[in-house]
Each structure stands twice: as C-alpha cells, then as structure tokens.
Amino acid sequence: MGKARKMVEFDEDDDQSYNLRSSRSSTTNPRATKRARISGEESSHVDKIRLSFQDFDQALSGFKLPSGNERSKNTDLWVDKYKPRTLDELAVHKKKVDEVKSWFEEILDSSKDGFRNNVLLVTGQAGVGKSATIHLIASILGVTVYEWNAPIPTVWQEHMHNSTSGLRYTSKLDEFENFVESTRKYGVIASSNTGGMKARIVLLIDDLPLNNGRHAFERLQNCLMLLVRSTQMPTVVLITDYDKTDSSDQTARSMEDVQSSLERAGALKVAFNPITKNSIKKTLQRICKEEHCKVTTVEIDQVASASGGDIRNAITSLQLFSVKPELNHTKIKLPQPRMNNSYQENEQTMHRCLDNGISSCFGRDETLSLFHALGKFLHNKRETDHVIVADCSDSLVHDQFARLPLKMDAPEKVLSQAHGQAGRVVDFLHENVLDFVSDEAIEDAWCVSSYLADADLLLAASRGKMSWDNKTEDILQSAGASVAVRGVLYGNKQPWSSRWHAIRKPKLWQVERSSIQTKKNLREQRNISFEGSRVSDISVMVTEYSPVLKWLSYRASPELEEKTDEEDSEISEDDEIQDW
C-alpha cells in the first residue's frame, strides 16, 4: 500500500530539518500516532518546502552558532550535537578531506565539460567520518545533498492482501534499481524546487540495499556499474569496510567486490583511514569544554585509544563516561568533607578505580584492556626477595621447576578482566614473547614456544568458527588461554630487564587474512566455471584446476591472477600503516 505511493523519498540530511520534524511531532495531535506513515509524508513535504529556504538558513546558521547548544540542551546524542561545523572541527585527515573537496570543486566548476568523474566512492571502516565529511563539504560549498532512503517495504501479509489487487511485490533491490534508472535518465525530479540551480546537487547513496545470494548481488553490481558509467548527476557512494579476519560474512565479502568493480568502472575512490588518536583527543577535549564536564586528560586519552580510530564511538563512549564523575563526587565528598588528607587519598584511589573501570568495561574493542594484561604477562614481574612460602608439603617441587611468586593476581583473573578472547591472546603472546626473553636463554624460548604450541592445539577446535556457545568448548577455551599465559610466565625464567617494547600486532593475522582472500577468490573462480559440481576442494583447485585453466586460456586467467595479487599487497600495506 504505502510503498506504491512513493518510490523515492528525499531527505535533506541536515540536522535542522530533523529538528523541525521533531518539533512538529510534539505539536501534532495524538491521533497521528496511529497514522505514522502519513505524518511522515507530511513532514517530507515540509522538507521540500524548506529547501527553498535553504540559503536563508545557511546565512542564519552563522549567527546561530554560539547559541546553538542551548537549542538542544539535553536531548541530543553528542554525536549529532557536536557534528563538525567547520573544516577545522573535522577530525578526518587533511589530505583525504582535500581529495573529497577537490572532487566537489571539480564537478562544480567544470560542469560544462563533456567528460568528468561523476562518481565518488568513499570507503573506510565504521565511524571514521565518511558521511560527516560529505555533508560538511557540501554545506560549505552550498551544495544540496540528496539521500536515497529506502521506503518501508511490504510485509508478506500485506503482499498477500495486495496480490488480488494487482500490485506486485518489490524488494528493496528492485526499488533501488528503479531509482537508479530514473535518476540516471531524468536527474532528481525534486530539483525543480531549488530554483534552477541544477549543478549544485549531489546524490548520496549511503544505504546500499543488502543482498543475499549471488544473483541479487550481481544485479546490484550491474546496477551500480550502470550508475557510474552513465549518470548525469554527481553521486557519492559510501561503503563501509569490514576489516575482520573472520570475514566469513557473505555481505562483507561482496561489498569488497562492489568496491573494486566500481573502481574499475571509473569511480574516484577515496579510502578513509582510521582517525588518529590525537585528532580524536582534540575533538573530545573540545566537546568536554563545551559541555563543562570534568574529564581528565588521562581519561580522554583512554577513551580515544580504546575507540580504535572510530570517532563516533569515541564520542558516544565519552557521553556515557561523562555521566559518572558527578555521581562519584557526591558520593565521596559527602561523608568526609574536612579530613583533607584522606580525602585526597580517596580521590586518588577513585581515579585509579576509574582508570581500571574504563579500561575494562568501556571501549569498543578489547585491544586496550588486552594490552594491559599482555604487558603484565610479558614483563613477568615477580617478588625479588627470597620469600620462602610455607606451602603445604605435597606441592613442593624441585628447585629446577620452582618459581618465585607472581606479583599479580591469578593469571585467570587478569585474563577475565581483560575480556580477551583466547585465540587473540595466544596470537599476541606468540608474536611478542621473544622480545621479552633474554638473549642467552635459548632454553626459555624453547619452553615458552612449546607451551604456546600446546595452547594453539587446544584452541584449534574453536578456531575458524566464531561461536562456542556450549560449555565444553568453553572449557577448551579457558584451558588454552591458561596454558598459554602460564606457559609464558613459567617459561620465561630470566625476563629481559624491563625496557620498553611496543607490543606488535600478530603478523599471523595478515597471513591468515590473505589466505582467506585467496581462498575466496579461488572459490569464486570455481563457482564461475562449474555450475553444478561443488565437490572439488581448494587443494584440487590449486593443484589441478588453475594450472589447466592457465594452459587453456592465456587471456582470461592471467588478468584475474594479477588482480588478486594487487589486492593482497594493498591490504598488507594498510596493515603496516596502522600502528599499535
């Protein structure tokens, strides 16, 4: 019903329009709750009307800026509230911003020329400011951004109901195809509203339709290729990277293919890197100043490094984090306001608590808290003075096997606080432990390595698959992690005197990832070649099928091979750039 009414809904993605919408929502009568769809349509009409006031708004926003915060004092997410408004506030690397900006300027200036690069492809991991950059640059240059928003699809029941009246079911993909087709031919129809400034429009495709299965994926790919090759409108396509080692996910892999095919079709690709810790810190500090919340630089530092280059997550975490101190102060100040000395002490412990708290319970990925734990294991601090532990007699061991007591909690406890996955812990230990073993002690290295190998064997069952829901696997996990950690602690008899070492990311992951990539490519080739028979496994593919293919046709296969090689090298380069 609803979807036939309107194929394409344009939204001016500006927070002002959202505000307008929400302010409307409070004035609409309660009856509207039942008719959400229709009121939604009303507001989109309003959006269109607003388009004509766009310039006025922009002129106004200059004055609004200082008082802008009061408008949405306590109801917005900080991510929205502190959207970058100037290029200085944008945390994205300057070079990338310039690339995007120059693309914008190019399409604006040389609009008379025949050939130009109409499609910009922006990639990068989640939360590095892809869409923020586009919106900001567009607003600075006075370009209107149109977004393709998927309409609400038909539910199956609705479809059954409608099927008698002759309406056909259309998927999101169908709608996307239709949309691309129509914009390609006619441009954006709503552009008449803006009063003849046709060149100053950019189409933003953020929400690519999701596809399951090869057929749907090919349709999407063809459709995008068509768009790239022949669109009349400047278009920006945003694709989120998933850089996970376990990219067993079909969609993640197909998105990579979309990227490469778009590039081949002539789209300009700008790849955003994760945002550096310093720029995240700068942004967080600015927000703290505007919010008047007291967060120490150490805490900001931790939030920033825990986010892993994801600024949106950093801001969200900061919002959550900032609610705490207020509570803490009231809690601690009230009971003992006059005893100065102990109060200070108290505050110090509080800060320590906070530090521990934030590193263990917040942050997007476990790397930071994991590193704390790894540092403890690798440095292997022990009691130095000769403490003779009055142990029960049954667990006395030969001097050769005895070790001084550890200067930390039980390794299992440290591990559980670090929220690390066993596999990751073993990988990290394996990569880094040799730096911490003394150069002379080859026996220690032997001992440590053999324990790590054992741990790896214990974990082998759960490698590869993500889920270990049942309890039995859980035991294997913890056994593997314990053996690895305790093996490192035990084996490293004379730890290298404590000097600073950076903990490296396991090189093993690169190898794994590129092997997954290669396997994936091989599997795809197989799918293309044999339609029915999927029995042959990878080794047969490599040893028999691909050599034969090379013999048979020199034209088709070499090209493919080269492509995969290039991709691999590109990925590994990216990895090296990331510093840990």
Binding site: A36, D76, I152, L327, L396, V397, F401, R403, M466, T472
Partner: protein, 333 residues
Amino acid sequence: MASSSSTSGAGVYEIPWVEKYRPSKIIDIVGNEDAVSRLQVIARDGNMPNLILAGPPGTGKTTSILALAHELLGSNYREAVLELNASDDRGIDVVRNKIKMFAQKKVTLPPGRHKVVILDEADSMTSGAQQALRRTIEIYATSTRFALACNTSAKIIEPIQSRCALVRFSRLSDQQILDRLMVVVQAENVPYVPEGLEAIIFTADGDMRQALNNLQATFSGFRFVNQENVFKVCDQPHPLHVKNIVRNVLESKFDDACHGLKQLYDLGYSPTDIITTLFRIIKNYDMAEYLKLEFMKETGFAHMRICDGVGSYLQLCGLLAKLAIVRETAKAA
C-alpha cells in the same frame, strides 16, 4: 521443614525465583558497580545514549535494561518501549517494519526522554537484520534510542558497534552472589546450611540466574539446602570428591586417586562431566606454578580427546597417570 513452604502452598503455581526476585530498580542490581551506577545517572538525567551491554549470561544485562527503561519512562513504558528478544521474529522484515514504525510513532514524553527499543540477545540477529538496523538508529536518534544486550560484542556488526557505547558486564564474584542468595533465602524461608549455599555458588560459576535456579530446584526438591542435595539436583560430580582425587595425585597416592575416579565413574557421571569439574578444581587448587601449568595442559588435552568422541574410562585413568608422572618428575629431591 514443611512449615518453610508457607509462602507457596502446595499445588499453587510458583513463578521462577529468577523472575520473582528480578530487581526492578537499577540500584538493586548486583555487581558491575561502575556500569550500573552510570546507568543510574542516565535514568535520572535522561538522554540515554545508544547502548550495547555485553557480558556472559546471568550477570544482569537484561535486568539493567528493563530497569533503566522503567525508570526512564515510568507510566509511558507501555507505549514508549519496544522489546524484542530472540523468541520474537526479528528478521530483516521486522527490523524494517516494526522497529521503523515504532521509531516513527509519536509519543509525548517529557524533555530528555526518548522512546527505547530493547533488543535482547542481539547477537542472534542475522547480519542482514543488523544491517537494516544501521540507518534506523541514525535517522531516528532524536526520538528513539536503542539498547542491545548480547553475550559477545564481536557478533554485532561494526557499524552498529560504532553507533553505540559499549558497556561490559563481567561475571559476578562469589560474595555478590552470596549476598543476593541470602536475600532470597530469607524472603522464602529456605532452611539451609552454609555449605549448601557454597555448593550452589560453586555450581553457578558467577552466573546469578543459574544460582537462583539451582537454589529453587534444590528447595522444591528436598526442602533443605545442603551440599548433598545441591549436587544431587545439579547432578555434577561432587567437587570435594574430585578435590580428593587431585590431592591424592599430588601426594603420590596413585592407587587412591584411581579408586576415587572409579567411584565417580560408577556413579554414572559421564567423562565430560568429570573432566569439566576436574578442570575447575585444578584451576582453583593451590599448587606450585609448574604443576598447575602441566596439570591444566594435560587436562585440556584429555578434554579435547573426550570431545573428539573418545569418552572412555581409560582416558580418565590415563590422565591421572600423566598427572602422576608430572608430579614425580617435579618432585623435590
């Protein structure tokens, strides 16, 4: 003993204690003080950010979200909260329709309050459904906030992780579980001995839900909570027994250890049960570092063999023999 069941007459339907004693206020939630106190401030001040609550089962994730939603929205709870868990249909269709419809719905709320979508067990959502959620979270941020609960945050796709603040929950300490158990025990007039509660805490392994369930099961089965009854109900090898086996190995009494194992095996416990308990005992047993490491390694290998299908008595005996050899090699001269 019969007098103890005064609160629940015979034959009357009794709701699970897990539900009956689920805290309805954030302040009552046990453990994870840091995270919970933050949630409390949010409940007071409003403007809840999008949240992901991640942690092992039985640590209070769902309870926290529900309590938070109740405290935030009060009487508006019914129309301003959409709660979906794995038992609901949460395919891509539902995300696109039900959640989107809910997000567009107009509800009059006090300033600083937002509608809340609770997605419990979010790690069981398909990645397709999560993808569809991505834009919805962003577009309706002014009126709707999301709270996701899951066991492993790695199963949430990155774009959603990026949009939410992650709150980790960790296993509860034994003391925290004990405190809560005492509350329940007193409210329900459960007769108990301290060792019984200790046993319940051992079986629960940091999982509050399991602890309460075991308590209730023991109570309704035997009307008395002691060690014996708890391990009968939970049907795990008695930890004390297993501990004796380990001690015998350490004291080089191999025959006694084997005898103990035989008894355990004859009681009908499967090798998986025995070795699971054995591993946990070894983990907490106080022994020399080298011994602990080697014992854990050998137990891990034996566990792997059993998982591979070689769940025989012979494997367990072999394990004991290996442990004994380790003990002998490391023996002080």
